[in-house]
């Protein structure tokens, strides 16, 4: 079992200036160094796990910038590293996500309070 539960509630924090170097990039290292991680997405961060969402490119001056933050790609990378990704189910409807079927494969929905009851099972609980 993972020793760390990471909770992400805030989303969309600097796509242009952060690009790849966002909190989910940090999560890869925390997962590696802290004995495994489960990740719970809450609030607007639940939209990170929507399967069909697409990150496009933007034009800046004469340059095409196609390296904006891509949280779905990061979540898939985390899953491939062994991170279990959860979303708080009640937040899906609130942020316009059409239920768990709209999520990336392998992302699990948690009932409100379900993950909070598991806090004692983890050595570390942190917010990303």
């Amino acid at each position: 079992m993972a020793e760390t539960l990471a909770i992400m509630e805030r989303a969309y924090r600097g796509a242009l200036e952060k690009q790849f170097f966002d909190a989910l990039y940090l999560a890869v290292e925390l997962h590696r160094q802290l004995g495994g991680m489960d990740l719970l997405l809450r609030g607007p961060a639940v939209s990170y796990a929507v399967a069909v969402a697409h990150v496009g490119s933007i034009e800046v001056g004469g340059r095409k910038v196609d390296t904006l933050s891509d949280p779905r790609r990061d979540l898939i990378r985390l899953q491939e590293s062994g991170v279990a990704v959860w979303v708080e189910e009640s937040d899906l409807a609130e942020f316009g996500v059409d239920g768990p079927a709209a999520l990336l494969p392998g992302v699990r929905a948690a009932a409100p309070g379900e993950m909070a009851r598991r806090w004692p099972d983890y050595r570390t609980v942190c917010f990303l």
Partner: protein
């Protein structure tokens, strides 16, 4: 005698800190769109937004260990792209006090640092002023 501020259609006052939300992304997209349509634009950065144009950031962000060969432009490089693409219609200013207060060192050559007491001159030179974010 003080600097004369070239007249612009719009002044974007970027107060919101980078890395906290998508204000910087939105501001850059807005500036690009207005310039593309032929508008004259000035940007005044305040607070942590003054750190966007530091020369110490270099051309690129640090390497991505997961995608080693990909180049990720720094914000300094992106502002330079804007200034190079629109040399006669984009003007980039920064608040000297905010920059000094945060230890932001040298800026891009095209960035003009100004005392906060001079901000009203920039507002007067713009047809409209938009303030984005809070300091």
């Amino acid at each position: 005698m003080g600097r004369t501020i070239p007249p612009t259609d719009v002044l974007i006052t970027l107060m919101g800190a980078p890395h906290a939300d998508d204000t910087t992304t939105s501001a850059v997209r807005l500036v690009q769109a207005m310039l593309r349509q032929g508008a004259r634009v000035q940007v005044w950065t305040c607070g942590y937004a003054t750190m966007l144009t530091q020369r110490a950031l270099g051309e690129s962000k640090p390497r991505n260990l997961a995608d080693w060969s990909v180049d990720y432009p720094s914000t300094t490089a992106l502002v330079a792209e804007l200034l190079n693409a629109f040399p006669d219609s984009l003007f980039w200013y920064g608040c000297r006090f905010c920059s000094d207060d945060r230890g932001a060192g040298e800026h891009l050559p095209g960035v003009v640092l100004r005392a906060p007491a001079k901000y009203a001159d920039n507002v007067a030179a713009a047809g409209k002023t938009l303030l984005l974010g809070v300091i």
